[in-house]
C-alpha cells in the first residue's frame, strides 16, 4: 500500500506532463478553429465590410466616388418612404414569426412529447419543403391561391362560392401566408429540439406533487422550451424582414417591402452606395435582434 506522501510525490511528478498535454490540446483546438475563422472571414465578415465601405461612398452621375459621406444614411431618415416601408416590413415579419410559432409549437409539442412512434418520419415530413427550391415553393402557392387555383376550385366545387375569389392572392395575406410557410421548418426545428430535451423526470416529479396538465405545461414545458421559442422566432423574423422575392411575386400592388427597395437601388437606379446603406441598416437590425435573443435565450438556446 502506498502512503499519502508517496502518492503526493507521484501526483506532483505527473503534473508537468499533464500541463504540457493540456497546452497541446489547447493549441490543437486553436489550430482547428483557423479554418472556421477563415471561412467566416471570407463568407461573412469581408462582404459585410465591403458593403459597409460602399455605403459611405456616393454616386455621382454613373460613377461611384470615394468621398466619405453619411449622405446615404441621411437619405434613409429624410425619405419617409424608406422608413415607412421598413416599419411595414417589421410589422409583416412580426406577424409571420408569430403565426409560424403558433402553428409550429403545438406540432413540435405533439411530435416530440406525445407521439411514441414515428417521430423521425414526421420530423422529416416537416423539413421536406426545405429540399424543394425556394422559387418553386413560391410558385406553388401562387398556383394554389390564384383565380383558377386549387383553393378557388375547391370553394366552387363545394358550392361555397359561385365565382373565383381574388382575395387570396396579390395582397399582404398571400405574402404573410407564404412567408409563414417558408418559415415553419426554421421555427419547428429549434422548438422540437428544445421540447425534446426537457427531462421527463421533471414532468413526473411535478405530477407526483399534484400538478395537472396545465400546471406542468405552464411551470415546466413552456419555460424550458423558451430558448427554442426565441431562436425560432428570431430566425423567422430575420428571414421575413429581408425577403423581397415573395412580396414581388405574390404581393401584388401592395406588396412592397424593404428588401424590394434595397434591390431596386442595384438595378436601374444603379445607386450601389445607397443600396448598400439600406442593406446595412437591415443587416444591423438583424444583428441587434440576434444579439438580444442570444442574451435572453442563452447560448444553449441558440446553438442547440
Amino acid at each position: 500500500m502506498e502512503t499519502t506522501e508517496a502518492l503526493d510525490k507521484k501526483i506532483n511528478k505527473k503534473a508537468p506532463v499533464k500541463k504540457v498535454q493540456k497546452e497541446k490540446t489547447k493549441l490543437g483546438t486553436l489550430l482547428l478553429g483557423v479554418p472556421v475563422i477563415l471561412w467566416l472571414l471570407m463568407i461573412v465578415i469581408i462582404p459585410v465590410i465591403l458593403m459597409l465601405i460602399m455605403s459611405f461612398k456616393i454616386k455621382s452621375g454613373y460613377e461611384i466616388t470615394n468621398i466619405f459621406t453619411f449622405q446615404n444614411y441621411l437619405s434613409f431618415f429624410k425619405n419617409s418612404t424608406y422608413w415607412r416601408i421598413l416599419l411595414k416590413s417589421f410589422r409583416m415579419a412580426f406577424i409571420v414569426s408569430f403565426t409560424a410559432i403558433i402553428v409550429s409549437y403545438p406540432l413540435a409539442f405533439f411530435i416530440s412529447r406525445v407521439l411514441k412512434k414515428g417521430r423521425s418520419f414526421l420530423f422529416m415530413l416537416i423539413i421536406i419543403p426545405l429540399w424543394v427550391s425556394y422559387l418553386v415553393r413560391i410558385i406553388a402557392w401562387r398556383t394554389i391561391l390564384g383565380n383558377n387555383g386549387l383553393l378557388n376550385n375547391l370553394l366552387m366545387g363545394l358550392h361555397i362560392t359561385k365565382q373565383p375569389l381574388s382575395i387570396f392572392l396579390y395582397n399582404n395575406f398571400s405574402v404573410i401566408l407564404t412567408l409563414t410557410y417558408i418559415a415553419i421548418p426554421f421555427v419547428f426545428i429549434p422548438l422540437y429540439t428544445a421540447l425534446e430535451k426537457i427531462p421527463n423526470n421533471l414532468v413526473e416529479a411535478a405530477r407526483d406533487l399534484g400538478a395537472n396538465d396545465f400546471h406542468v405545461f405552464k411551470s415546466i414545458i413552456l419555460p424550458l422550451s423558451a430558448p427554442g421559442f426565441i431562436t425560432g422566432f428570431m430566425l423567422s423574423f430575420i428571414l421575413a424582414l429581408g425577403d423581397y422575392i415573395i412580396p414581388q411575386q405574390l404581393g401584388g400592388k401592395t406588396g412592397l417591402m424593404f428588401g424590394n427597395i434595397v434591390w431596386s437601388q442595384f438595378g436601374f437606379a444603379s445607386n450601389w452606395p445607397l443600396g448598400s446603406a439600406l442593406g446595412f441598416i437591415l443587416f444591423t437590425i438583424a444583428a441587434v435582434i440576434l444579439a438580444i435573443t442570444q442574451k435572453f435565450s442563452g447560448e444553449e438556446g441558440i446553438y442547440m
Binding site: K59, G61, Y170, G255, L256, I261
Partner: protein, 380 residues
C-alpha cells in the same frame, strides 16, 4: 564499358523524356477561342450556337437574365464575365456612361449593310461621332393583351379604329373602375414611366421636365391603383393570363406571349391591341464589352454578323417573333405572329400608332424613385 553504357542509357532516357514532352504538348489541340454572351432567352439558341461553335472551333458560354434591370446589375458586377450583351436602345447610353462598352467596327460585319436604314440611322447608337455602340438585331413594342372572353365587353368603349379593320386600345382602359383589380402593368420603372407619360399626352416621354414628371406621376398612380399586380417578365405575364388572375395586361413580351398562348391552345381567348395614344419601341441588339479583345473580339463580330444575316434573322423571326431588322428574314414569321402581333410582319415605317424609339431617360434614378414612391403609397 558498363559505366559508358549506363551514361548512354541515362542520356537516351532524358532525351526521350524531353522529346516526349515536346511531342505530347505539340499534339495537344489548340485551346478553343471563347465567346461569352449575356442575353435574354432567344438570342443565343442551340439551333445556331452549336453550328457556330463547330464552324469557328470555339466555345460559346451563354448567361441568361430575366429583366433589363437584372442584366445591368449583373453586367456591372462582373464586366469581365461577358464579351457581348444584348441590350435595348434605351440602355446603350447607360452602359456607355457606366464605362462597360466600346464601339463596334461595323465595317468588319459583312451583313451590316442589310440592316434596314431606319435602324442604322437611329441616333441612340452613335454616342461618339462616327462610332456605333450597338448592332440592332430585332425590335418590339409594348402593348395590351386582353382576355376577350371575360373583358371583351368592358374594353369596347376604349377601342379605336386604326384602318384595315384593325383596332387599338386606349390607355384609359387602365383607369376604368369596372376593370379594377383585373389588370396588370410591369414592375419596371422605365417602361411604366415612359408609357404613362405618353398616355398623359407628353411628346417627349424619355425627357421629362418637372411638369412632365407631375403629369406622368398622376397618370401612373391612377394606373397602379387600378391594377391587381405588377408583372416581372414573360413568365409572370403568362402566369397572370393563364391563371385568370388578370384580364387586361400591358406586356413587354407580346410575340412570345402570343406564341406561348397558341402553344397552350389558349390563343383564341386572347387578343393583342396596340395602345391608341402610341407606344414605346425597343430595339434590341448587341453591345461589345470594353474588355473584349483578340479571338473573342473576332468571334463577337462574327456572332453579330450571323444574327443580322438572312438565316439568323429568319430563325429569330421564327423563334421570338419580334420585328426583325433585315427584311430578308421575314419569311421566318409563323402564322401566329401574322394573326396576333401582325404589325411585326409589316414595315416599321407603317406602324399604325405613334412609335417612340427608346433612348436613355433623363434621370433613371429619379424614375426608380417615382415608381417606388407610387408603390409605397399603395401599400400603406
Amino acid at each position: 564499358m558498363k559505366k559508358t553504357g549506363l551514361i548512354f542509357l541515362t542520356v537516351l532516357a532524358l532525351v526521350t523524356l524531353v522529346f516526349g514532352v515536346i511531342i505530347v504538348n505539340g499534339c495537344k489541340p489548340k485551346a478553343k477561342a471563347k465567346l461569352s454572351i449575356a442575353c435574354f432567352k432567344g438570342y443565343a439558341e442551340d439551333e445556331w450556337v452549336k453550328p457556330f461553335e463547330e464552324k469557328y472551333n470555339a466555345t460559346v458560354e451563354v448567361t441568361y437574365f430575366g429583366s433589363v434591370d437584372e442584366a445591368f446589375a449583373k453586367a456591372k458586377a462582373a464586366p469581365d464575365q461577358w464579351d457581348i450583351i444584348s441590350i435595348d436602345s434605351g440602355r446603350v447610353k447607360l452602359y456607355y456612361d457606366a464605362g462597360l462598352i466600346k464601339d463596334i467596327d461595323t465595317a468588319k460585319i459583312e451583313n451590316y449593310g442589310k440592316v434596314g436604314e431606319y435602324f442604322r440611322t437611329q441616333g441612340y447608337a452613335e454616342l461618339e461621332k462616327g462610332k456605333k455602340f450597338h448592332v440592332p438585331i430585332c425590335w418590339g413594342d409594348q402593348d395590351f393583351v386582353v382576355n376577350m372572353e371575360t373583358a371583351g365587353e368592358d374594353i369596347k368603349p376604349y377601342l379605336k379604329d386604326i384602318g384595315d379593320g384593325k383596332q387599338a386600345l386606349s390607355y384609359n382602359v387602365l383607369k376604368d373602375a369596372k376593370l379594377a383589380n383585373r389588370e396588370t402593368i410591369f414592375d419596371e420603372s422605365t417602361n411604366v414611366t415612359n408609357m404613362s407619360a405618353i398616355s398623359a399626352g407628353i411628346k417627349t416621354p424619355f425627357k421629362l421636365d418637372d411638369n412632365g414628371y407631375t403629369k406622368m406621376q398622376e397618370e401612373l398612380t391612377k394606373w397602379a391603383q387600378n391594377c391587381r399586380a405588377f408583372t416581372i417578365g414573360f413568365d409572370s405575364e403568362m402566369q397572370v393570363l393563364t391563371s385568370g388572375d388578370a384580364e387586361v395586361i400591358l406586356t413587354g413580351n407580346n410575340s412570345l406571349v402570343a406564341m406561348a398562348l397558341a402553344d397552350q391552345n389558349l390563343g383564341g381567348k386572347f387578343k393583342h391591341f396596340l395602345p391608341a395614344e402610341g407606344t414605346i419601341c425597343w430595339i434590341d441588339g448587341w453591345a461589345l464589352s470594353k474588355l473584349t479583345t483578340g479571338e473573342s473580339l473576332d468571334l463577337a463580330l462574327k456572332y453579330m454578323d450571323y444574327m443580322i444575316g438572312d438565316e439568323g434573322q429568319q430563325k429569330l423571326a421564327k423563334l421570338v417573333g419580334f420585328g426583325i431588322v433585315n427584311p430578308s428574314g421575314a419569311s421566318g414569321y409563323t402564322d401566329v405572329i401574322g394573326k396576333t402581333t401582325w404589325w411585326y410582319s409589316t414595315s416599321i415605317d407603317k406602324f399604325p400608332v405613334p412609335l417612340y424609339v427608346m433612348v436613355a431617360e433623363e434621370n433613371p434614378e429619379q424614375r426608380v424613385k417615382v415608381w417606388t414612391d407610387i408603390k409605397a403609397s399603395l401599400g400603406k
